[in-house]
């Protein structure tokens, strides 16, 4: 097992130890969030950009700084390429990072990406020097286009944000992985640990989640579970699972008693 002792991965030219990217939304307090982040073992975590007077939670930056976790600003809530590009630029100015998790959603009910606006924004931000991690749907064609315009990672959803429905279409995730030349991060829809394991088994490089942890009854414990889950999934993927068979196959030698 020596050859895979190092389970780290590379994204945007950097190396990360944990396969779990966390979001920070939904936690009932910074204390709860802190315990969950620590338990998750994450080293990359998203924040949203909001007006200072409405924010109420500026402490999240200080928390991430204290925990030594890399900040990944997102463009959550943006509905057009223009909004998303401006938000990414503000985040770069405010946080001093060219990294952005790019979200351009079509409506509040589904929070599904608007792929036309998304591709437009991705292209503009890449041209402007950003490291773009693009939240997208599970369409393999859109994923390839995002890579073509220069995104550093494609982040397909398992199911709509916050639904906890898991990975609705595993075959599409497999198709995205098969064609991708950049990391694939499963983003959105994770409800429980088995969903995260499945994402890794399908070949994703990492999993991004927030609600599944922050809104669980015990966020800290679910965070630990998710940390174990991505490691379990990576091991299973790399270990080479047994084939599925329709008929049984004895695990004990044939018995010869009369």
């Amino acid at each position: 097992m020596a050859e895979h002792a190092d389970d780290s991965w590379r994204l945007g030219g950097r190396t990360f130890g944990s396969r779990l990217v966390m979001g920070t939304g939904g936690a009932t307090s910074l204390e709860v969030l802190e315990r969950a982040l620590v338990a998750s073992g994450t080293d990359l975590t998203t924040v949203a950009m909001r007006r200072v007077d409405a924010a109420g939670g500026g402490g999240v930056l200080a928390l991430l700084g204290r925990l030594g976790i890399e900040v990944l600003p997102n463009t959550a809530g943006c509905r057009s390429a223009a909004e998303a590009v401006l938000t990414a630029r503000l985040a770069r100015e405010a946080l001093g990072t060219p990294w952005v998790k790019l979200e351009v959603v079509a409506d509040d009910r589904t929070l599904l990406p608007d792929v036309v606006e998304l591709l437009d924004a991705a292209e503009q931000l890449v041209d402007d020097g950003f490291v773009v991690l693009a939240y997208t749907n599970d369409d393999p064609v859109t994923a390839r286009r995002l890579e073509d315009v220069g995104c550093a990672a494609v982040m397909p959803l398992g199911s709509p944000i916050g639904t906890g429905l898991g990975i609705s279409n595993p075959h599409h995730i497999e198709m995205i992985v098969a064609a991708a030349g950049v990391p694939v991060v499963l983003d959105a829809g994770i409800g429980t640990a088995s969903d995260a394991v499945l994402a890794m088994e399908l070949g994703c490089d990492a999993v991004l989640l927030a609600t599944a942890v922050t809104r669980a009854e015990d966020p800290e414990r679910m965070a630990r579970g998710m940390s174990l889950a991505v490691r379990a999934g990576l091991d299973a993927r790399r270990a080479g699972r047994i084939p599925r068979r329709l008929w049984a196959h004895a695990s004990s030698p044939a018995r010869e008693l009369p």
């Binding site: 979001g23 998203t46 950009m49 007006r51 500026g58 999240v60 959550a76 927030a210």
Partner: protein, 65 residues
Amino acid sequence: MNVQLNGVERAVPDRSTVADLVRLASAPTTGIAVALDGEVVPRAAWGTVVPAGATVEILTAVQGG
């Protein structure tokens, strides 16, 4: 003069700068960014005078995503 500051119409002294508005909004001075009429104002340019009627947004990072 009046400006639209984070979505609220506010009366501010004429020839207020971006930095003045940041102070007015009680914003911290780190971890924030300012957009003036839809364009980012780099910190080095916070001395810029804000025109009357401008829309100013001051953002910071919050829990989310």
